[in-house]
Symmetry: C2
């Protein structure tokens, strides 16, 4: 299968029609119209085989996740997704692999009406770089800077599932019970849900926001650094899925929740005056948020047990080259 046929297959599988795409795939560049009164939000993320996913991961899951981790960045800014480019580096022109990959990518793209507007296919070790574009009104964007002492700290959904899923996926547990609860953990690992609707609810209202990709403590630490504040997490309040509770004992569970990456939930801060309204709206959106701590004077993240005593932190979040 030649490069042209690969591109054509991806293009046709990922077709999403948008008026703001004036010229799509097939020329030297796409031509796109940003609606007036909006800023453009742009983010890019790479997935490398053997680093971010294992070689035997289903191609459709890789396609989904390559887009999901990028859309999650837009969600964390409170941006509405619009367009993506896809740079796909493949060891060989495996048409079936590419078709399945494109189907997974397209499944998520259609859900959020994301048009694939350009890309590049090259021969080389398997990796995928996606760049996403979205819209956000000036002043409404959620950044990492803005958390105020006294704000509550919140997390959407549940934490730790993806890291637990990875543990199940890796030897020696691999293959054990993909049914039931364990299957749900694997789905969290392979098919993360970018919290787009929740970011749109929070924008212009939360004081800061980040997506939990590297682990809660590490990512909340980024908010603290950017905002010039500290934060305390109450370990016993961290939201856990029933599947996580069923599959792992308390200590493992807590480590996954505090340091496990890849959940792609939103961690945000908000003043008490608006928090109940935000929590109600988030619950109505199908993804409730839990209060997990508070913003304090100082720097860095502290974790406390039910009695308020500091807990030692599990290993830090994901760091390349560490």
């Amino acid at each position: 299968m030649a490069e042209f046929a690969l591109i054509e297959s991806i293009r046709s599988r990922c077709a999403v029609v948008r008026d703001d795409v004036r010229l799509g795939i097939g020329d030297d560049a796409a031509l796109l119209a940003v609606p007036s009164g909006n800023l453009l939000a742009v983010s890019t993320d790479t997935l490398v085989c053997g680093v971010h996913f294992l070689a035997d991961t289903r191609p459709s899951d890789i396609g989904w996740k390559a887009l999901a981790v990028n859309l999650s960045d837009l969600a964390a800014m409170g941006a509405e997704p619009a367009w993506a480019t896809l740079a796909l580096t493949l060891p060989s022109a495996d048409a079936r692999w590419v078709d399945e990959f494109a189907d997974g990518f397209a499944q998520l793209a259609r859900k959020h009406r994301v048009a694939l507007v350009g890309g590049d296919t090259t021969q080389g070790p398997l990796s995928i770089t996606v760049t996403v574009h979205g819209f956000v009104p000036p002043g409404a964007a959620l950044t990492r800077a803005g958390a105020q002492v006294g704000d509550g700290v919140y997390a959407t959904g549940t934490l730790g599932d993806a890291a637990a899923g990875l543990k199940l996926f890796l030897p020696p547990l691999a293959g054990e019970g993909a049914e039931g609860g364990k299957g749900q953990l694997l789905v969290r690992l392979h098919r993360p849900i970018p919290r787009i609707a929740q970011g749109l609810i929070l924008r212009g209202r939360a004081t800061s926001c980040i997506d939990v990709s590297d682990g809660l403590v590490a990512d909340l630490g980024h908010i603290c650094a950017a905002s010039g504040v500290g934060a305390e997490i109450d370990a016993d309040t961290l939201p856990a899925s029933p599947a996580l509770g069923a599959a792992f004992a308390a200590e493992d569970r807590r480590a996954f929740q505090l340091a496990g990456g890849d959940d792609y939930e939103l961690c945000f801060t908000a003043p008490d005056a608006i928090a109940p309204t935000l929590q109600r709206e988030l619950a109505d959106s199908g993804c409730a948020a839990t209060r997990i701590g508070r913003v304090v004077d100082g720097a860095g993240v502290q974790v406390r047990d039910a009695s308020g005593n500091p807990l030692a932190l599990p290993h830090a979040g994901w760091e390349h080259f560490a």
Copy 2:
């Protein structure tokens, strides 16, 4: 060197201040303002070690070229460059390599006031994906569709130098005389000049345009396919640099000019009524354009000798997975 330090080094070396960057590197996404009355042009290209460049290429040259091949796509659309994202996958956190890479990237970025607004660094086999963003007024963009029967076909600068440089760079010629003319061919290979100013002259006026990245015949073939026309090239009119003429005999030279990729000159079509004006303005810009053929009825590209007889084509342009 940890990931954070790598990113900080790249960020500081690539600092370009622009008012339209409302939020740059360091949050979940960049926030950018497209000037009103403009479309956004977006393009992405990947360079893979061992495929698009050799492992012993200077890091600064790789940095320059990774941006240049992308800016060349904006040039071919007649777009004015504004922003770039950089996804850098590295086998190890080699600080010196990264610094030199960033310096080469920044050298070209500063020339065109391109702000680096985001990116990702990951561990894996060396490859670089850049996504560039530029502005173009609606209706003025140069596309591949629009060549009219009777138009002249033109090329900026000179053709074949980069392919000749690659030949010199590869064994058994590697190391021979990087001085003088051969050095100039290597510069064309390693430090291509995106024809941004020339694209801006042509926009709204040329009937079609493409950058010569895969080889003249292949790229002009894309114009023909998109425009529903054919084209004839007069082989003896192809612009050659003195260095190319000095280093290679006529037959090799012609093959490089017709099928060699990586020159990143612009190939465009224009009606005779405006061609002299365009050619004068391009010459004044420091990069003259040569008339190399004409648009004809039919399909595909034919090459003719000085007597008008068809020439057999050299091997086709660059095609991955071919």
